[in-house]
């Protein structure tokens, strides 16, 4: 929107199975529906604390994770629901965690900002901006040492470009040719500040300066995100080293669920424009329908199924019991 994107990849939907795109669509819908309910839980004061919604950015998480295998790693952020779901988390255990319940992914100990699911390769959301860049890079080092061909993806917002740690680990990833992909979700805002007030120069030259292959793409086009990531993942698996992918995107809601009055830092018009003209679900749906790869009723059906799964998941979370008090002392040490 405010920034030109550059990429060598043409989006080639026809080359990929329609079933896969429908799955991709379903994943994006799942995230969207999940976040609507999470917001509802907050507004109804059922959810403890605050949470950061991912709505609007679905194409990034889904496009990237679709290019990964289950055993590949991701690390996530404070705005992590989308990444977790896209990598394979199930909505019921996610809701349980958001509500601090024993059945949750972290037995209620982590909450929204710390959902981890090693079984699906998710090494954890992280509440320290940039805090997981070391973990993702270390997972890539580990994969290399163990001779596996796993790849690690580090998701972060453009705000994390402020953290020095990122440059330290990019340097090592480049030196050691580690299979790690740094996915920068540029949603234009660090909390309540436009990124241009916090970022000197451009984004990708920063990675390139460390000898890292870097691209900027439209993060609302899930097919493009998928194709690009696939190429970068293959490169990494072949031992050709790390890559950096900037995805231009937008969060529909506030920085967190409590951030309701946003006009002091961004306009209603801007929000509306993204929602209307750059919605990732709509973009994919339109392409699939226009290309006659599916018709609207199939998509509606997916939407209905997902909605009911999410509603059931939410109810599961609400009904689930809290952890027993004795658990407070458990899991401090392995």
């Amino acid at each position: 929107m405010t920034k030109k994107t550059e990429s060598n990849t043409k989006s080639r939907p026809e080359a990929v199975d329609v079933e896969q795109w429908l799955h991709v669509y379903e994943q994006m819908v799942k995230i969207r529906e999940f976040e609507e309910k999470a917001n509802e839980l907050y507004l109804k004061a059922i959810m403890p604390g605050l949470t950061h919604l991912y709505s609007g950015q679905e194409a990034v998480a889904v496009g990237v994770c679709e290019a990964l295998r289950r055993e590949d790693y991701i690390t996530s952020t404070h705005r992590g629901h989308g990444h977790c779901l896209a990598k394979g988390a199930s909505v019921d255990l996610m809701f349980a965690e958001l509500l601090g319940k024993e059945a949750g992914y972290c037995r209620g100990k982590g909450g929204s900002m710390h959902i981890a699911d090693p079984a699906s390769g998710n090494l954890g959301a992280n509440a320290i901006v940039g805090g997981s860049a070391g973990i993702a890079t270390g997972a890539a080092l580990s994969a290399k040492k163990r001779g596996s061909d796993q790849v690690a993806v580090c998701f972060f917002g453009e705000g994390a470009l402020g953290q020095g740690l990122l440059y330290e680990v990019m340097n090592m990833a480049s030196l050691w040719k580690l299979p790690v992909i740094y996915v920068c979700e540029n949603n234009l805002y660090n909390e309540y500040t436009h990124y241009s007030e916090a970022l000197a120069g451009e984004v990708t030259p920063r990675a390139k300066a460390f000898g890292i292959h870097a691209e900027t793409i439209d993060g609302q086009d899930v097919q493009l995100v998928y194709e690009t990531t696939k190429r970068l993942v293959e490169r990494a698996r072949r031992g050709e080293g790390p890559a950096f992918l900037e995805c231009m995107t937008y969060r529909y809601y506030g920085h967190h669920v409590g951030d309701i009055s946003r006009t002091y830092y961004r306009s209603k018009e801007e929000e509306q424009e993204w929602r209307e003209t750059r919605d990732p679900l709509k973009i994919l749906a339109d392409k699939l329908v226009a290309g006659k790869l599916t018709d609207q009723s199939v998509l509606d059906h997916i939407q209905a199924d997902v909605r009911s799964e999410v509603e059931k998941g939410m109810q599961f979370g609400i009904d689930a019991p809290y952890p027993d008090q004795s658990e407070v002392n458990e899991d401090v040490y392995a």
Binding site: G100, K109, G111, H114, I128, G164, Y192, Y322, E327, V332
Partner: protein, 330 residues
């Protein structure tokens, strides 16, 4: 000539202290993440940028080590920065700049340089913010020679101590309890400052001494109220600054009451409570009728679930029970 009815919230008291000092001294400025238009996520600084402009209320990138270091550089060259470190947990990112640079520069230079800088940060659990947004790391900074550490427990203290912090020629870590921002209290309209190293006796009592910091002062006062109902008179002492530490006031109190509990919201092991307890156990040794008891946060990463998080922090109830048993009741 004070106006006893004037009440401010803790956040307003902090803001007023900053505004007054910024009016008084053009070298004072604020730097941190989302401190300007957003006024911080806690809205503590709301309105300051309107009065002082973006040059003096500076939004930074998300670069805690970097802007902390820049603050130190500005401080040693004539400015008086107030650095905003949003969550106390992020102190972890700034320790080199605070500890190896700011705290030591005066000594290492043989007294030739000084770093008049305030690091405002937060502490406190029970906000459902989980393990990386809830810590109370005062023990770390209190351990470091060259730093001063302030832990206000009321709007009145917050304002008076922050003004002192800004005027101090040393690096000061100023720790605010996030859960206290909306708490109201008396703050006079007249100018005042509160000296460092002077404990405040928040409630007088005869039977037991409760030494409490920041968030735990209200907890101790609540417990004291309950104790009074069963005939135990508790003295509540707030050191207000952990460094410098006014040892004599609470040692004297413990000598008088012969029993003491120390309460702080940091992790208990190797925490502030260890220092306070060992100071009393030493200083009042020949007067104590019972061992000094420590109550800190449970030694676990702070859990998210409300069902667990609330167990990790001392409460009126647990302090009351501990005091009761220490006084030989039950």
């Amino acid at each position: 000539m004070s106006t006893p009815e004037r009440e401010l919230t803790f956040a307003e008291a902090v803001r007023e202290a900053l505004a007054e000092e910024m009016r008084r001294d053009p070298n004072v400025f604020i730097m941190g993440e989302d401190v300007a238009e957003a006024g911080t996520p806690f809205k503590v600084l709301s309105g300051l940028v309107e009065e002082f402009g973006k040059e003096r209320v500076m939004d930074t990138p998300i670069s805690e080590p970097g802007f902390t270091g820049i603050g130190v550089g500005a401080a040693v060259t004539g400015m008086r920065p107030v650095i905003d470190i949003m969550f106390g947990d992020f102190l972890t990112l700034t320790m080199d700049q605070i500890v190896n640079q700011a705290a030591k520069i005066h000594y290492m230079s043989g007294g030739k340089m000084k770093a008049p800088i305030v690091f405002r940060t937060t502490m406190g659990a029970t906000r459902r913010s989980a393990a990386q947004h809830s810590q109370s790391l005062q023990a770390w900074v209190s351990h470091v020679p060259g730093l001063k550490v302030v832990m206000p427990s009321t709007p009145y203290d917050a304002k008076g101590l922050l003004k002192t912090a800004i005027r101090d020629d040393n690096p000061v870590v100023f720790i605010e309890d996030k859960m206290m921002f909306k708490m109201k209290g008396f703050v006079p309209a007249e100018e005042y400052t509160i000296p460092f190293g002077v404990a405040d006796i928040k409630r007088r009592g005869e039977d037991i001494t409760l030494v409490a910091t920041s968030s735990m002062v209200q907890v101790a006062l609540g417990a004291a109220e309950k104790l009074s109902q069963i005939g135990i008179s508790a003295e509540v002492i707030d050191p207000r600054t952990t460094s410098p530490l006014d040892k004599q006031t609470f040692i004297n109190s413990a000598k008088k009451t012969s029993r003491a509990i120390v309460i702080d919201e940091g992790y208990e092991a190797y925490g502030v409570t260890a220092e306070l307890a060992s100071v009393i156990a030493d200083g009042a040794f020949y007067y104590l009728d019972a061992p000094v008891k420590r109550m800190g946060a449970m030694d676990v990463p702070i859990p998210f679930s409300p069902a667990l998080e609330d167990l990790t922090v001392p409460t009126e109830e647990t302090v009351f029970e501990m005091a009761k048993s220490l006084c030989g009741r039950n």
